[in-house]
């Protein structure tokens, strides 16, 4: 088999999982990332290993992807996840009324649930609001937003992939209608050089529209930021979700010695240099405290914003109306060969996104190699920095 060279733009969860998948299939892989790896949306996400329950009523395609990938990650990334499950908590009668729809949605998507009385739930999580009515247990968990992608990258590196952080794509090279590589700027030297490739994959998350524009194609991405609030101290061991239609500040993810409340949702033009609107921070305190009152007293650690790469045309108002599922674009459909974009999705579903994309890439190259990322246990994250470049 001739070795084809695939160049991946973007070192977030998606690019990392794709580098791993393609390296396992025996392809030559180079990944370029303009900053440190995971410096885009990935590192800033909420840290929720989704069970899919959050999307089980309104966005079942995404919910099914989440539960499937949740179970795979438990297998391929052991000892990196806080697997304490999650609770969907009903605080008001309106929340209680949502229960049947929620349980039905979870059942339809294959997400296991366990109904708990108020007392049972309070025994598991004593800091829940005294207004609690009932709760539903689901297989949510906590992941380290950076270290799971590092495990993909460490394994990719081990299998021969070349990872180049601080390397920004400044132009996409074309011969006629075929993409032949990229021009990059190395931020360690500020020198530019070219890298040739048989296929270039755009995995630039909320920046993928900008990157696609360099190749002269359009990707319908709506960058949709959300605010997150980290508090010192663990207020819970399980992930706490509000049992209602997804809204603001309705998830608390415990992680290490922190509790992270999130999130909000609005839309922006530019995913860089995101503001952290003060009213959103206050909303996190208020909404978070409805589930766990101690949110209001816990010492502040950090507040920040991150931009979702939601697939959908601009013009959405809050971003909540857009699906959390992913999309892989083969730009041959618009007349540009050798260029593929993968975007949307969740950090939880990065492996699945990579599988779909690697299938497209292999098919385009005529490579017949099956996906192995469901079984291969990932190297520890420490191996990413220890292995020489």
């Amino acid at each position: 088999m001739a070795t084809f060279h695939v160049l991946i733009i973007g070192g977030g969860a998606t690019g990392a999982a794709l580098a791993h998948d393609l390296a396992l299939r025996g392809l030559q892989v180079t990944l370029v990332e303009r900053g440190e790896v995971t410096s885009g949306t990935t590192g800033r996400h909420h840290g929720l290993l989704h069970s899919g329950a959050r999307y089980a009523v309104k966005d079942q395609e995404s919910a099914r992807e989440c539960i499937e990938e949740n179970m795979i990650l438990r297998r391929i990334a052991p000892e990196s996840l806080e697997l304490n499950d999650g609770l969907f908590v009903a605080i008001t009668e309106e929340d209680v009324a949502y229960r049947d729809l929620f349980l039905e949605g979870c059942a339809q998507c294959g997400i296991p649930t366990r109904e708990l009385t108020r007392e049972e739930a309070l025994r598991l999580e004593p800091n829940l609001s005294p207004d609690l009515k009932l709760a539903v247990q689901v297989p949510d968990g906590t992941m380290d937003a950076m270290r799971i992608p590092l495990r993909f990258l460490a394994t990719a590196k081990h299998n021969g992939a070349v990872i180049k952080p601080f390397t920004e794509v400044v132009a996409i090279l074309k011969q006629g209608n075929t993409v032949t590589g990229v021009r990059v700027r190395d931020h360690r030297t500020e020198k530019e050089y070219e890298i040739g490739a048989d296929i270039v994959v755009n995995a630039a998350g909320p920046w993928s529209e900008k990157v696609a524009a360099m190749a002269g194609v359009h990707v319908p991405i709506q960058p949709s930021p959300g605010v997150l609030l980290a508090l010192r101290g663990r207020l819970c061991n399980m992930v706490i979700n509000r049992l209602h239609r997804s809204g603001d500040g309705d998830i608390i993810v415990p992680q290490r010695g922190l509790s992270v409340v999130g999130t909000s949702s609005w839309v922006v033009e530019d995913p860089d240099n995101l503001p952290v609107p003060e009213d959103h921070v206050q909303l996190m305190y208020e909404k978070g405290a409805e589930m766990v009152p101690m949110v209001k007293q816990a010492p502040f650690r950090a507040a920040w914003s991150a931009a979702r790469p939601l697939v959908g045309e601009r013009g959405a108002t809050t971003g909540r109306e857009l699906s959390r599922t992913f999309k892989c674009f083969d730009h041959a459909d618009e007349g540009v060969e050798g260029f593929v974009t993968i975007t949307g999705g969740k950090a939880t579903t990065a492996r699945g996104m990579a599988e779909t994309t690697a299938n497209v890439v292999c098919q385009k190259l005529g490579v017949d190699a099956p996906c192995r990322t469901r079984e291969v246990v990932l190297l520890p994250h420490t191996a990413y920095y220890v292995q020489p470049d």
Partner: protein
């Protein structure tokens, strides 16, 4: 919120060039962190400025740097609370410099990895909370975020390049304290030498800068006590 301008004097280095300092004026509000100010500089004034970041909330450990000479995480260092008209930003010490504020963490991890500490710990949970059905036991990520602040602040690491350093020794102590099925004797043997836990001057600079309550110096003292205890045990055992 009330905005103010602050000067940032930032260490600059590109490979093949001479290091220098460059000053930028930045608008900040009461929530602006050093990390967000650097982002603002990169975005609005100088796209060549390189620094590491990922989580923005003190949990990944990538944004370690020296701010006004002190090792901190840039993402949780509030600019106005520093209270200085000029904020000096420099890369961490005791790690090879790659560019600007970016250091190479390869050496750090090469020393840290052999401790073999799993990311998940088994201790310190909410004491009154029951374990949910279907969950074996509560889990939580370890405290150390591998930021390298301790190593940068450690005077011994500056003078002895072979010193295992505070973070690695703290990880070793975690394996002795909570072996999680591994053999503590192996890790104890790994630290029991002149570049290991006996090298430390015990001035606790590392514990002072640690942003994640690891207390590496305390861990080093605990390793010494444990080794001494075992050696005394062996002496009596042999007799």
């Amino acid at each position: 919120m009330a905005e103010q301008t602050v000067q940032f004097k930032v260490f600059r280095y590109k490979q093949g060039e001479r290091p220098s300092y460059q000053t930028y004026t930045v608008r900040v509000d009461p929530r602006t962190t050093v990390l967000r100010a650097l982002e603002q500089i990169r975005q609005e004034q100088d796209g060549t400025l390189a620094f590491r970041h990922s989580c923005f909330h003190a949990s990944c450990g990538t944004c370690g740097m020296k701010v006004n000479g002190q090792e901190v995480l840039a993402c949780v260092t509030n600019v106005l609370e520093l209270g200085t008209p000029v904020v000096v930003v420099e890369p961490l010490d005791n790690a090879p410099l790659i560019t600007d504020l970016v250091v190479d963490m390869g050496d750090f991890y090469a020393r840290y990895q052999p401790a073999g500490m799993p990311m998940i710990r088994e201790s310190e949970f909410l004491p009154d909370s029951q374990v949910p059905e279907g969950v074996e036991h509560h889990m939580r990520l370890e405290n150390c975020i591998e930021c390298g602040l301790c190593l940068s602040a450690c005077p011994v690491a500056g003078s002895d390049p072979l010193y295992l350093g505070p973070a690695a020794l703290a990880a070793a102590w975690r394996m002795v304290e909570e072996p999680r099925g591994r053999d503590p004797a192996t890790v104890l043997a790994w630290v029991d030498h002149e570049h290991g836990c006996w090298r430390c001057h015990a001035a606790f600079e590392c514990s002072e800068v640690c942003p994640s309550n690891v207390d590496p110096a305390g861990a080093i003292m605990a390793l010494r006590r444990e080794l001494t205890r075992r050696k005394i045990g062996q002496l009596f055992g042999r007799r």
